[in-house]
Every structure is written in C-alpha cells, then in structure tokens.
C-alpha cells in the first residue's frame, strides 16, 4: 500500500512538473504574441505584423477563489468541515481571437488551474468514509482539481459560407434553453461540478462550469426578419478517459480500490446505517449473511464498489436539431436531442455481477464477520429529448403595466432511467420486512439484479423576469433591480413507488418542484453589485446564494466577489439539502486582461 502511494505521488509530481513546463511555455508564447508584436514583425515580416496587430486579439483572466467551510461541526454527519479552507483555486485563462478572413474566424483558449488541497480535508474524509480497516477509503489525490492539459479549453473555427449560414467547428459550448441558475435543456455540454456547488450561480458562471465538447454546429437563418433559424449540432464525443463529470457520489474508478469523493459530492451516508457505518450498498443488494441483519452487525453491511462507466466512443455521439421562429412578440423553438446524456443529475447506478465478500475468501462474510460487496457502475444512458422553448414580453394586460418577460422551456424524456429499491426493505423470497428503511428491489420473488427501470418524464420551467425601481434603496433612484422568478417541475408520467435518487435513499415523487428567485442591482455607479439567488423545494429544502461584488471605479479589469453557498432542509438526503453541512463562503478575485 505504501509503495503504491509512493509511486502514485511520484507519478503525480512528474506529471505536474511536465505540465508546469508546458503551461509556462504556453504563457511565454502568449506573452510573445501579444506584447512583442513589433519584435515578431521583424522576424515574421510585415504581412504577419499586420495580421497579428490588426486581426489577432488577446484577452483572458486570472482568477483566485478561496473557499471557507462554515457549516456546523461535522461529527453529527461524519464530515468535519467547519472552519477550514475548502478551496484555493487559481485559474489562468488566455484567449485568442483571430479574424482570418471576412468569412472565417478562429477562437482558442486554454484553462490552467492549480488547486492544492488540504490535509485537514483528507484526514476528515479518511476517517468518515472508512468502511473496513483492510481497505481504507482515501480522499482524492491532491492534484485532482488541477487542469494543466495543453488541449485547448475552447477552440472553434467560425465559417460563414453565406450571410445566412454559420458553421462552428471545434471544441465548443452549445447552450439551449431559457433558464437561469439551473439547467433543463442545457444538457448538450456536461457540467463540471467538482469545483462548483449546485444552485449557486453566483460563485461560478455556467460558462465556467460547463465542459466544452468537440463537434459541429450549424445555424441557417431561413427568414432573417422573423429570426427563423434552423440549427443542427453533432458531437462525436471523443473526449479523454478522464471525463470530469459530476462527482456526486464516491467512486473508485481508478482500479486502486480507493473510493473517492469530490468536494461537492453529497454526503456519502444514506439513511441506512448499519453497525455505525454507511450502508449505501444495501440500497442495491442484500448481504451474503442475511442472518447478521437480524440484529444488524458488520456482516449485514454491503459495501458499494462503484465505478464510473464511460460510454464507448461509438456510443458517445450526440445529435440535436432545432428550429426557432418569431411570431409577433413570441419567440419559440422546437428541438430534439439524441445521444449520450452527460448530466450528473441523470446518472444511475447499474448493478453488475453477483454480491461478493470483502475478504479474500467468502467464509468471513457467510459467517457474518465481514461486509459484502456489490459492484455498481455509475452510468449515463443514451437518451433522447424532445425540447421546446419560448419567450414573450408582456408589456401590459388590461392597461395594467406588467413589463415582464416570460420564458419557458420543456423537455420530454421518453424512457428516462431511474434507480429503484424496495421501501421498506424486505426479503424477496419470503416477503418478510427486514427492518431496514430500504432494500434491493424484488422482482418475481427474487432480488432484482438490475435496479433500473425507465419512465417517461416531463420536465419544464417557467421564468418571469422584471426590472423594477425602488428609489429609496438606491443612490441612483433610476438604477433598476433585476428580478427573476422561476418554477421548475418534473413529472414522472408512469411513476412507480420506490424510484429514488441514485446517490441516496430519498424517494422521488411523481411530481417534484423547485422554485428560484434572483434579484440583483448596482450601487454607486455599478461599483458595488449585490446579487441574491435563492432556491426552494416546497418539500422543505432550500439553497441561498448571496453575493456582493466590488468593481473598483479606478480599474475596470479588477473584480472582487464575496459569496456564500448555504443549504438546508428538513433532512439531508434530498437535493439540495444533502449539501447542508457544506455551507461555505468564498472570496473570488479576478483580473481581466
């Protein structure tokens, strides 16, 4: 074990060293291109000088985000997260624009991130999620959040063959939909939730948390006057093996047997606690020793051996088509997305193989002395989505001024996969209750070895945006407050009892709702910018994401933001209540160049 650790850290060091050199090289090239155009011209000639000075633009930012956990002492819920730094993230993102011809432009950017992690966090996790002494659970490696790949973050070639046809090739973002803060149709690019907390758009923009994807996007404007546009996207999905999808549960997908949890993974515990330990695996399988569950002992425990399962290259395609059109004041669109669904919230666990023993031989498990192990694969199935959106400006109704923009989007997921279990748990053969809140699903008298079923699901959102003036709250009485209210609803049309979140034992109801409210404004000439985002689930969960930014009046390139991500609810097993002990504050400092 020690040897493996040493090898691992040596490899990490070498990797870091190599990449650091690469980063420095890239920065030097960038610096040379931008600040030394005159020298470059003398080497490259007048044509290049003209091209570099007139047609190439350089921009980007340097950003440092520091996060401090402020949640209560974690002993109650296993995590000691109080009063310690949870984030020290340094990002540098150079960006180049090149106007190559009248009909072709090129944009490229890189993102380099260095984010050291802290021993306190590692110790905490090691203590909290150790299932079994012989296979200690480890925290993520210290370089897990680093990004030092030479691969461009975005690299797009924009081609305009005609006035009405625009083609974008390369690694890009494609965002559909109308919502703010939460994503519904914005499912084409995956989101990296390893560093961004959920429902907290004031900490990191969606722009910063989406992962760009290689592909092609075509926009054809059929009728310009009515903005009638046909859109086609095709993404082959040839991404690298380390696809940074939402790390919302622990997984040991590195073959070293070490369960890893992301910063914003939900608490690993479920409501299943057996022998003082998290019995998450018992959601999906019974132990090899049913007798040990009579008075639950360690032998009743089922350890989940989870693996992230990425689709094969051929299964990774995503294709989408959409038409948008204006009729009077109504703007709307209809679309279809087919292919691999990369969204963390849509993942499910697939059970693979038979239950095994955590010990080298089955004896200790059968005797109730050692926990059992169930192999789970965390997957995103292929999906297809029928999509629609609209927006409409309502100025007045019956001469009453409303001044409100209404927007909405709808997503119909035929046969969306869900995990299902028995609530309460029971012996599948005898039907006798096990005494546990939950257990593996029974199917025709035997334990279901799949634990997944597909349901037709409708999701939609309605948003209302309005700016109002509250003169007595402002130094400039005509500085508006921008307000936004959103309603999200999910309806599982052919709902079944026992469908639950893949990561916890929290059931999903037939209809689930979420509301958000956002208000922002600016003071003192937009030098002080408050922004408040609140999310609320009527079932009793909430999130609170206040932020205040300072943009100094003497330098437009600097911006400081103080923000908090706070969560709560009547239990900690449903979204977003399961982040309730990860309340945090952040200071974000940015310099744009």
């Amino acid at each position: 074990m020690v040897e493996r650790k040493n090898l691992s850290s040596r490899w990490q060091m070498e990797k870091t060293k190599n990449h650091t050199g690469l980063v420095i090289s890239c920065l030097l090239v960038a610096l040379a291109l931008t600040t030394g155009s005159a020298q470059a011209a003398s080497i490259l000639g007048e044509e290049w000088e003209k091209f570099l000075t007139e047609r190439v633009k350089f921009g980007g930012f340097v950003d440092n985000t520091t996060g401090l956990a402020i949640g209560p002492d974690g002993d109650r819920r296993h995590f000691k997260t109080s009063n310690r730094f949870i984030m020290e993230r340094f990002t540098i993102q150079p960006e180049f624009n090149a106007q190559m011809t009248d009909w072709a432009k090129f944009f490229i950017s890189w993102r380099f991130v260095k984010e050291p992690r802290y021993n306190a966090e590692a110790r905490s996790r090691r203590k909290s999620v150790s299932y079994f002494p012989t296979a200690p659970v480890q925290p993520l490696p210290n370089t897990f959040y680093d990004e030092d790949s030479p691969k461009p973050w975005e690299a797009v070639l924009d081609i305009l063959p005609t006035d009405r046809l625009a083609i974008r090739l390369g690694r890009q973002f494609i965002s559909w939909g109308e919502t703010d803060g939460l994503r519904l149709l914005d499912v084409i690019n995956p989101q990296d939730s390893t560093f961004a907390p959920p429902v907290a758009p004031n900490l990191f923009d969606l722009d910063e948390t989406r992962i760009p994807t290689w592909g092609i996007r075509m926009l054809y404007t059929a009728i310009p006057a009515s903005s009638t546009t046909l859109e086609l996207v095709a993404l082959p999905g040839f991404e690298e093996a380390k696809q940074r999808v939402d790390e919302v549960v622990g997984s040991n997908d590195t073959r070293d047997g070490i369960v890893r949890y992301g910063r914003w993974s939900a608490h690993p515990e479920t409501r299943l606690i057996i022998a003082g330990r998290n019995a998450f695996g018992n959601l999906y399988a019974n132990s090899l020793s049913p007798a040990s569950c009579a008075a639950p002992t360690i032998g009743c425990l089922v350890i989940p051996s989870t693996t992230r399962q990425l689709p094969d290259a051929g299964d990774n395609w995503k294709i989408g088509a959409r038409i948008t059109h204006n009729i009077g004041k109504l703007n709307f669109g209809l679309g279809y997305i087919w292919g691999y669904n990369p969204q963390g919230a849509d993942m499910v666990f697939k059970r693979k193989g038979a239950v095994t023993c955590s010990a080298p031989v089955a004896g200790p498990c059968l005797a109730g002395l050692a926990p059992s192990v169930v192999n789970l694969r965390l997957v995103n199935d292929r999906t297809h989505i029928f999509a629609g959106h609209f927006n409409y400006a309502v100025d007045e109704i019956l001469s009453i001024p409303l001044n409100t923009a209404i927007r909405g989007e709808i997503a119909i997921y035929p046969q969306e996969p869900y995990n299902i279990s028995e609530f309460p748990g029971r012996n599948c053969a005898t039907g006798v209750l096990t005494g546990f809140r939950v257990g593996p699903r029974c199917k025709r008298g035997v334990e279901d070895s799949d634990s997944i079923l597909e349901k037709n699901t409708l999701r939609y959102a309605l948003g209302f945006d309005r700016s109002i003036l509250i003169p007595f709250l402002q130094d400039d009485p005509w500085r508006a407050f921008r307000m936004s209210f959103q309603i999200f609803q999910r309806i599982i049309l052919d709902h079944e009892h026992g469908i639950h979140l893949f990561s916890t034992a929290e059931k999903i109801k037939k209809v689930s709702n979420f509301l958000t409210f956002r208000v922002s404004t600016g003071y003192r000439g937009d030098t002080i910018l408050p922004d408040l985002f609140v999310g609320y689930d009527p079932a009793g969960y909430w999130s609170f994401n206040p932020a205040v930014s300072y943009a100094p009046p003497w330098n437009e390139k600097i911006k400081l933001t103080l923000t908090a991500a706070l969560y709560g609810g009547h239990n900690k097993f449903a979204f977003p209540g399961f982040f309730s002990e990860k309340d945090s504050v952040f200071l974000k400092m940015r310099y744009q160049f």
């Binding site: 106007q99 625009a166 926009l219 310009p224 006057a225 948008t324 703007n331």
Partner: protein, 417 residues
Amino acid sequence: MKAIEKGKALNSFGLAARRFFLFVVLLIFSSVNLPAAEVDLKPGDTIGPQNWKKVEDMVGPNLLNRIKAGYSFQIKASKHYTSPKEYVEATEKHSAQVRLGSKGELLNYVAGLPFPKIEPNDPQAGQKLAWNFYWRWLGDDFKTGGATKEGKIVRLAIERDGAERRADLVSYTLFPRTRYMLSPKPAIPGYEHIDWSQIRIDTYPRDTSGTTTLEFRYADPERPDDLYLYIPSIRRIRRATTTLRCQTLAPSEFTLDDINTFNAKITDFNYKFLGEKKILTNFVEEGLPFHRKTGDYLPTDEKWEVQDVYVLEITPKDPGYCYPKKVMWIDKVTWESTWAFMWDRKGEYWKEQFAFRAPVKLADGREVWSVGTVVIHNVQNGRTTLVTAVRSYNRGYPASLWSLATLQRIMRGGSVE
C-alpha cells in the same frame, strides 16, 4: 450656539438663493430665443472666466459654471455640412404627403426629412421637429465606432473624484425601410414594418465582452420594441422588456432613452417648439477621443464654434417617466442634437449632455457628419460618461446580421463582421 444656528440659517438661505438663481438660469436656457445679432463671437476669440457672459446662453449651465471656474477654449469658424443629395431628393419627393395623426404618429411617411419647413407658429411644430430628429439622415446602415482609431466605441465612466473606468463596444444599426444609397431600395423586402434594428456588442473588459443586445423599433407606434440580450456567462439569449426605459445603463449615466440623445418612441411624448438660437458646439472634433486631463470630462484643446439650432422641449405622456422635462438643441442642417438638458421629478436640474461631431467619408468620397464624442454629466452625483462613437456609414451589412442567429455565434472579444 447662536452663531452656529445663524450660520445654518445663512447656509440654508444661500442654498435657496442658489437654487432660485439656477432655476432662473434654466428658465432662460429652456425658453429664450436669442437673436443671432446678439452673438459677439468670432474665430480666434478665447472664452474663459474673464468673459463667460459672452456664451452664457450658448452652453449648458454646468459648462458655464466650469468656464466661470477657469475652463477656457477658443472659438473657431463654423463648419457647414450638406445633406446627401439622395436624402434631399427623397425629402423633395415624399415630404409633401407626410401628415401627423391624432396621436402624433407619422402618416404617409416614406423617406427623407418628414417636415422640411418648420413654421414657428405651427402648434404642431414641436411634434414635427421631433419627427425630423427621428428621421434625420443616418445612412442606410452604420457601425457606431467604425470610424474611430480602434474601430469601436470607447466609453469612459468618470467618478466625481476623477476615477475612471473604460469599456469598449461596437454597435450596428440598420434602417431597413429608408434606404437611400444601398440596394435594395427604398426598403428591404420583409422589413417594411421595422424602423430600425440595432445590435450592440460589448468588447472590453473581458467579463462583459460578448454581451450583446439586439433591438427592433417597429413602425407601428403601438408596438413596443423587441429586445434580446445575449449573456456570455450563460451563453444564452434572454428576452428583455423595453418598457422600463428610464433605468440607468450603469456604469454610464445614460438611460435607454438617452442613447443618441433621445431614443424614445416619438409618440410617447409631448413636444413644444421653444424657438431658435445660436449655440456653441464642435462640428469638427480634432481628437477622437478629444484630449483631456485624466479624471476630467472637458476637452483641453478642442475649439468650439457657433451653430444655429432649434430648441425643443420634451415632456412625457407617462407622469411616472424619469425626466418630466428634457430640452434638446437640434442642429438646423443635420438635425442632430448638440445639447440636451434633463430635469428630475423634483424639478431640479439633473443631467447635461453635449455632443461633438466629426466629418467622415462615404465610400464614394463624399463628406458627411457623424457623432464624435458625447459627454453626459450628472450634476447631482458628479458622475460623467464620455462616449467616442464615430460612425462609418453604408457598410452594406446583410439584414441577417440583425437576427438571433448572430447572437448565438458571438465569442468573447470577437466580432460579428
């Protein structure tokens, strides 16, 4: 204690007296028709604290105060522009048929200046002036900022203490139903219902770059504008309402309706023609942007010239509108606004705006005018916004540029051309 109270009383009296004096000055500014013969200025004259009285009715009260406090400048010969012949021909061809409707709307308008002759005694003279301003010659399309050195609009927000922030943007405007030089003429098929459309893109600093608005102004006076906003931080288009036209476009001191001095729907306001006068402006701005001391908004070496203007008072039909009164000084030849003055709901002087002009060339070499640098100063909070926005006209952009598809291909720091 008594001395303090006396002092307070004196201060209070002094404040009241200053307000009364300001009120009188503003009353004079907003209504006096200064005969041309009384202007005693010739090229080469220097105006400063010693002779401020010479220009006291020819500039805004705030600038006058600055002159009294030491600001000085020279007078130069007046520049006279001529309207493009196509515009003049359209005026001659179509203006006779143009009428005003019962709500002040424009009827039978095709192209050119709607009302080439303004009769001072005409009770509708104000409304006609407003429409003339609205349909002044602005080319068939233009890129604001297209003729500056950087190829974009440079905007500076200056605080009372002199702290400055810069922002860059570009703006593209299309007049699809009043085309004088570019084909198709006189209107782009399918666009006859649109007066103008505008796409405005922030390009600097980085975090706001790519933020884009797409706005449509419709010929139907009852139909509100359409406004779409592309937000790069979410990479999506959002719909916005356009009815809250008073909100400050912070960090600038402009409101939506202050763009191009007066960007509102003409039929939403009442107008009063207050007369004609000679004023000081600058129709040939030398530096773009002009030279100035850091932290100050006045040019250090630009010369000013005398021009003839119409004085137009604008009052809103909506009593809740931010400016219960706005006065514009509109140039008699170009119909561009040279000065504008705004009052708040308490009747106190609020904002003062002046705009320089600069000559630019069309593709065929003809000289026309463009806005140069615009300065809006908030006399109440001391903040100022400077915008240098020289236009390049008749670029021949396709109409499809002003569509939602354009918003979806914006990149940070990139362009749509």
